[in-house]
């Protein structure tokens, strides 16, 4: 409206604009530039896609993230709706416990998995007692899977619970009044109603798994995931161009996933990335 107001608005936006410009937009452009101005130029991306190690890592990471996302959605979807719909003693405690790991950094999650399934872990101990063979999962793909599941479940549960809270119960009652069985109600009413929440939290879950560094770092697995490769390229091989190219690829995948989800869900993404 009035001109003076516009001036105030611009002034108020300045701090964020400056911070973002200086420490996000320009560096990201610089990163893009760094990936394309090596001796091979854009050929670097071709090299990335044809070198076995890089391609394998990329596929592993995507596969792992997809698997984790699917598993998380199933587990957290069921438990989230269950907790939202039922009241029993100790429920609040249970919810608090389930959301406690929300604030764990990746390294702590890695450590949790070591304690659970590492060489001196609980699972190893139990399997040794039971079968005589020690089962060690932590340092393999399974360990990574468990770790990613560990930090994904709490986030998705909170979103699912929030979505389930808003569902209009009369829809389900209407379906039941029309003769639908429990499974039909779940399939035809509940899941469609949960869909926006599932899509957006699933996308966040996927993106976080793609970019997770701390967990893999702590577990020091024999399977490299993309963030670890980026890290080693940068620090150990000083291959800045390749590290940049891999980062950009990673960034594009995660951003693309979130963008697609947002378009598909049509709403806002829950801010719990």
């Amino acid at each position: 409206m009035q001109k003076k107001n516009r001036f105030i608005l611009v002034a108020l936006f300045m701090p964020v604009a400056v911070i973002f410009m200086a420490f996000f937009i320009l560096p990201m452009l610089r990163l893009t530039l760094a990936s394309a101005t090596g001796p091979e130029g854009l050929g670097l991306y071709l090299e990335m896609l044809t070198t076995r190690r890089y391609l394998e890592t990329l596929l592993y990471t995507v596969g792992l993230s997809v698997a984790v996302t699917v598993a998380t959605l199933i587990i957290a979807g069921i438990t989230g709706v269950f907790l939202q719909r039922n009241d029993f003693t100790g429920k609040h405690l249970l919810v608090a416990m389930l959301t406690f790991p929300l604030a764990f950094p990746g390294v702590v999650v890695g450590f949790m998995i070591i304690l659970l399934a590492g060489r001196q872990g609980l699972i190893g101990l139990l399997t040794k007692m039971a079968t005589g063979d020690k089962l060690v999962l932590a340092y393999s793909m399974t360990g990574l899977f468990l770790g990613y599941l560990y930090f994904s479940i709490p986030r998705v549960i909170t979103t699912v619970m929030a979505t389930a809270e808003k569902i209009d119960l009369s829809l389900e009652e209407a379906a039941r009044s029309l003769g639908a069985s429990t499974w039909r109600v779940v399939r035809d009413v509940l899941i469609p109603a949960l869909m926006p929440g599932l899509i957006s939290s699933g996308a966040i879950c996927f993106a976080t798994s793609m970019g997770a560094f701390g967990t893999a770092f702590t577990l020091a697995t024999d399977i490299d995931v993309l963030p670890i490769v980026i890290y080693t390229e940068f620090t150990l091989s000083a291959n800045i161009a390749m590290a940049s190219a891999l980062s950009i690829t990673l960034g594009l995948i995660t951003w693309g996933a979130l963008y697609l989800a947002r378009t598909a869900a049509g709403g806002t993404l829950a801010a719990s990335g």
Binding site: F13, T79, F82, F88, A96, F111
Partner: protein, 648 residues
Amino acid sequence: MNKRNHLFYLQLALTLMTCAFLLVPVIQSVLAGVTVNYFVGIKSGLTLRWLGEVWRLYSDTIFRSIGLGLACLVVDLIAGIPAAYVMVKTRSRFTRLLEEFLVMPLAIPGLAIALAILISYGWWTDFRSSWLIILVGHVIFTLPFMIRSVIAVMTAINMEELEEGAASLGAGFPKRFVGVVIPNVLSGILAGSLMVFTLSIGEFNLTWMLHTPFTKTLPVGLADSYASMRLEIGSAYTITFFFMIIPLLMAMQWVSRPRTGRAATEDNTEQARMENQSQLSETTAPADAAASQAARRPGTSIRLTRCAKTFPGGTRALESLDLEVAAGETVVILGPSGCGKTTLLRIIAGLESPDEGGGIFFNEDEVTAIPIEKRNVGMVFQSYALFPNMDVADNIAYGLKVRGDEQDKIRARVDEMLAMMQIEELRGRPINQLSGGQKQRVALARAIAVRPRVLLLDEPLTALDAKLRDVLRVEIDLLLRSIGITAVYVTHDQAEAMALGDRIVVMSKGRIAQIGSPRDVYFKPANRFVADFIGTVNCIESKMADRCLTFPGGCIPVDDLEGVDVTEGGMLNIFFRPEHATVVEAGQGHFQAKVLSAFFLGDRTRLLVNGDTPEPLKVEAPGRQAFRKGETVDILLDLEALFTLSEA
């Protein structure tokens, strides 16, 4: 699904298993951190040795993390809150793009951001080796959370309207921002702050890339301790971390839990009270001596010249129009939803500027360029825009405080307003414990407390139920008359317009369709739109033949009509209202028609009849007579009340 059948227990089992998966390692780490020998287990005894060791080795990382978290929080608050405000205020395509940019740090892995920052600023050794580079990374990572959290609350509380409310009472930008915006988004700021601090404390991906041996943070230290392969130290360190985040998580839960105690008063009891009160007010009139002081003041006239409004998107909300409102007059702007009523009112208020060339005058003062807070208008918003951070008395006092009046004067005026609106007992109530009708009264009191030059009301009764609406309509009418203020009242309800307006401005599609007294618009509508919008109207197509207006089924001698001027053989549409066509005894009417349906209204019966006219007609029958479907009735027209219209 609430029955405890096998499904319930299956789900419970899954939930418990998930919980065990998450919790068992936490318990293990807690035990490991306080037992003497991890491999032997708890039997080896409990000790605090490892925690002491952690303190000796890593306390600097803990302090650094707390410091970083606080610094990050400060930056986010200073930069984030204003940015959120701007983004809520300017909803445009450009803002959408900005939002997209602002959420990118959520989408792009920390590692990539860290790499980008390193490549760009790594050469700057002083910066690279200080904790500032980590701070920068944390700010980029956490700022979107702060902004989103604040935006969410700003949108939820309808901040813009609150701000407009404050502006209409005279508050300039700094006062509005500090006094109204910030206090009402505190919950968002608090939630955002906790989130930012927690995220900053636990951030690892960025920090690992950006840290140096001298700038290790807590998660970096944790990674070191895990890598050192001493499980008990790692566990003890993890316990320390748990202790730091548990209070943060609990605070977050507390902040986000739903607040109870909303809208305590039921509208039903409220209604009963109001009805008693309105009887009271008919005898005493709500506005008494106090208010009539204001009436003595010479009123303010409003004049709009060539005011049009085109919104940035290209919507033409208002065609160029002129309008005059005399001092002390109540003008009602009436029209269907979307016709530009609100836009017109906001132009008068100073919340929108008219397109180039338009002018707004209060008496002889041109106020076109004067912002609302300087215009001295009182405004009542459709959703009331009461400030939830203040109680009833503070809301009413707000405009006076902004003007810098003395305490005593303010108190006296607030008392006066509370008495005038008969809401003395609500003085200290928080806003969210008021019923709709009570809010309405507070909003009115707040608007007139500052003795505005003109009072502007945008559909003030729409949010209330029908009965309350009638009561309050009477009260507003009495109030406006007794304080004699110039008022512009916007509504889409024609009954409201008829009851309240000295004059009615009927609007259609951004234009004024007619201006006139309620009688004028009802009895002499300027065109078909007005006739249809206000009340019900019948139309008969007739033809002039033998000095008679002839229509299928009957005729009216033209000599009985005034001012009808049609040549022989010409066509003419005759209009009349249902109450001007009554059922009479057989043989005494102008024409006959068949009853299609009858609606008994108590004092009369409304009939839908079909003459030989193309459309059914609505007519009325007084008294107790009952009608059968298909019955033939005679209908008499009140010839004085017939009218013709120019087609428009």
